[in-house]
Amino acid sequence: MFEDTEHKAGKGTLGLVILGPLFGLLYVCFLPLIALMTLLLALPELAVAKKAEIVDNAGACMSCHSSREFSKTFKNKEKMSVFVNADDFKGTVHAFLSCTDCHQKVSLNAHPGRSSYDSREAFLLAASAACRNCHSDTQLKAKPVHAFLTNKTNGPPCIDCHGSHSVKRSTAWKNTLSDNQYCLTCHSQKLTKTLGNGEKISLFIDPSPLKASVHGKHACTDCHTGFSRTSHPTRDFSDKRSRSFVIAEACKRCHLDKHNAVRESIHFKLISEGNSKAPVCTDCHGFHNVGPKATYETLSGVPCKGCHEEVFKRYQKSVHGMAKAKGHTGAPLCSSCHFAHEVKISAMNERIKTACLGCHKEAEAKHEKWLPNAGLHLSAVACSACHSPNTAKGIQLRLYDQNTDKPFTEEQAAKLLGSEYQAILQRISSHGGEGLESDELWDIVRKLNNKGTNAKVTFLGRMDVSNSAEAHQLALKKDAVRECEQCHTSESDFFKSVTVAVVKADGRLRNFKAKPEVLGSVFSMVSLKQFYVLGSTRLKALDWIGILMVFGGLSMPLAHIALRVLTSPIREAKRLNKMRKEGKR
């Protein structure tokens, strides 16, 4: 319109002089009017425009993104639909935002290439970064879960929980989830946590083994007490081990009987002494994949081998291990003899022997058929001493209270002797490779019996395998020792290695080497008065007394004969004299 006016005015000066001011007046006077009217006319339109701004501004975006036909392919060939449901978006708290408020790298001139992201996850992470433009760290950290996640580099993207275009408060949908699913919202993510010492642990929970476990029907919070929809305490563990100790405490809520049994075990004793390597529930049973009892009663599933590898290897080659491998369900596994929870060690030999005889009920009767004093043999000789051939053997001397018929423990000795016990221990330990002397054993027994208690202490000998791992390589019956001569001679290997084993109340042994001579020393009349193996532990002093006595017995007749020979001329003269006298008579 303005172009036309200027065009006409240019045709003549008169026209320009007259019409110019006229149109200028019109322009000056009417323009505000026109503008005002236009504005008045447009007002209702503006009111509507505020609401439809996105759609209007997004017109270009939505021309493509309202279609369900388009998808995006990432570098890793993952596909993702690019459809945006505008109706959904309009119902969200973000409805007032324009597309480019979040997708800041996108404009009509710039639209990132289809393959600019490696993967869907990378895209989502990048897209989620936009949330932080408005939602500050301070705002996020007000909630513990957010606080935890905001410190993570590998935390899940915001949209995992809150959605993207249909953004919601997580409670809007999380509260509709089951308890376990609620936890898994985060814990199905590949989350990790760094512990005090720098160790990393995974917080990822694979729901399928958990479901397949004996605890499949349990809620997470049954074990993870203190955690709920409203509470997620932050726990700071210094290392993986101390975390296991805390987590394993949960088991006793249901398995109190097992927990109490464990308290009797050597494992618990070790833990209470500060040995962090000793196992807790989860070391044997796992965390979320707790299997049924049968799982731990198979060669492949038995947890003991994790730590006791050497023993397990020997067991596997034993008659028991081989039978187990062949599928004999009755064949014993570790727990059959050592017990699963109240784990005992072999020093409590009576229990172990009971374990052997528990299955081999006929053993005593069978031994009686061929072995003289079978009961005696069974009480002084460990089963494995004969039934584990080709093993190192030895005599183990243990303090024993004859009054109670029980081992005299280190604790008892320490209580009885007080500081003197420490002195003895120190002296024993300082022997090094030399081994204890017989008078030292005698001294120990004498001191223990002189204290005026009811205990009647002596060393009791036991024939055993010297290496406890070797005790597990039990062989077939036909390979067991049957010849008396294997033991009943001082040449036997048994009597070349002597150990003094101090038994602790929990059954652990403290071994000290002793000289083999202690078995046949005069002092052993007192210190080892109840240990005597025919033909093997004879008193050496008696050998010398014997030689002297037999020599004395022989020499008397010999000396007498010699005297008689020497004096025979006297008798001869006397006889002749007598004969002469008789002749004269």
């Binding site: 003289p372 005696l376 008396c484 040449e491 004879r538 007749p557 004096t567 008798r571």
Partner: protein, 210 residues
């Protein structure tokens, strides 16, 4: 030459069972104790034989005990009640063995069924039959089954004490046997006493005896 019936049949049987048993027990005992030096038989056989013969010896001891108590002849083991008589008798006998015999003197003791042993024999055999043999039998019995006899073994001072008693007595009997056999050859002939132990009759040369 006159003959006196010195050894009644039960005593001869007892004596020779004793003699054979002692030898078997000596041999098997040595085999059990010195397995590392001796290999006469298997350990197991040695133990079995030792046990069997040990029980024979226990039974045999009762033959002796029953015979002597019920026949009243146990008196021959009992030294004279007068100490003076006993001591002079011992000195006289010791003087004979150490001196008189060398000079061809006559044995001051003349055995009769009622007074079979000289005072030294009485002393030795009384100790042997009443103390040492029972001790050996009892200690052997204990060692035969130390589990069953755990109580008495403990009372005696432990297994090693009982075993040592058994061994020391064994050594004593072994040395005693040498002297015993030698003294048995000191009759009027070397075999006179030995023969008598078979036949029961001791030959007394003329001119001997009271």
């Amino acid at each position: 030459m006159k003959k006196i019936y010195l050894h009644p049949l039960p005593i001869r049987i007892w004596h020779w069972i004793n003699a054979v048993s002692f030898i078997v027990l000596f041999v098997t005992g040595l085999q059990i104790r010195y397995r590392d030096m001796l290999s006469l038989m298997k350990f197991r056989d040695a133990v079995d034989l030792h046990n069997i013969v040990g029980f024979i010896l226990i039974f045999n001891f009762f033959i002796w005990l029953v015979y002597y108590i019920f026949s009243g002849r146990i008196r021959i083991y009992i030294p004279p009640l007068s100490v003076k008589k006993f001591i002079t008798g011992c000195i006289r006998q010791a003087r004979y063995y150490g001196y008189g015999i060398l000079l061809g003197e006559e044995n001051p003791h003349h055995s009769t069924p009622e007074n079979k042993f000289n005072p030294m024999q009485q002393m030795a055999y009384l100790a042997i039959m009443v103390i040492l043999i029972p001790m050996q039998l009892v200690s052997g019995l204990f060692l035969w089954d130390i589990k069953q006899f755990a109580g008495p073994i403990n009372l005696a001072g432990g297994l090693k004490v009982v075993d040592s008693v058994h061994v020391v007595l064994f050594l004593f009997f072994l040395s005693f046997i040498f002297v015993h056999i030698y003294l048995a050859t000191l009759g009027h002939t070397a075999t006179a006493h030995i023969k008598a132990m078979f036949t029961g009759y001791e030959e007394i040369p003329e001119g001997h005896g009271r």
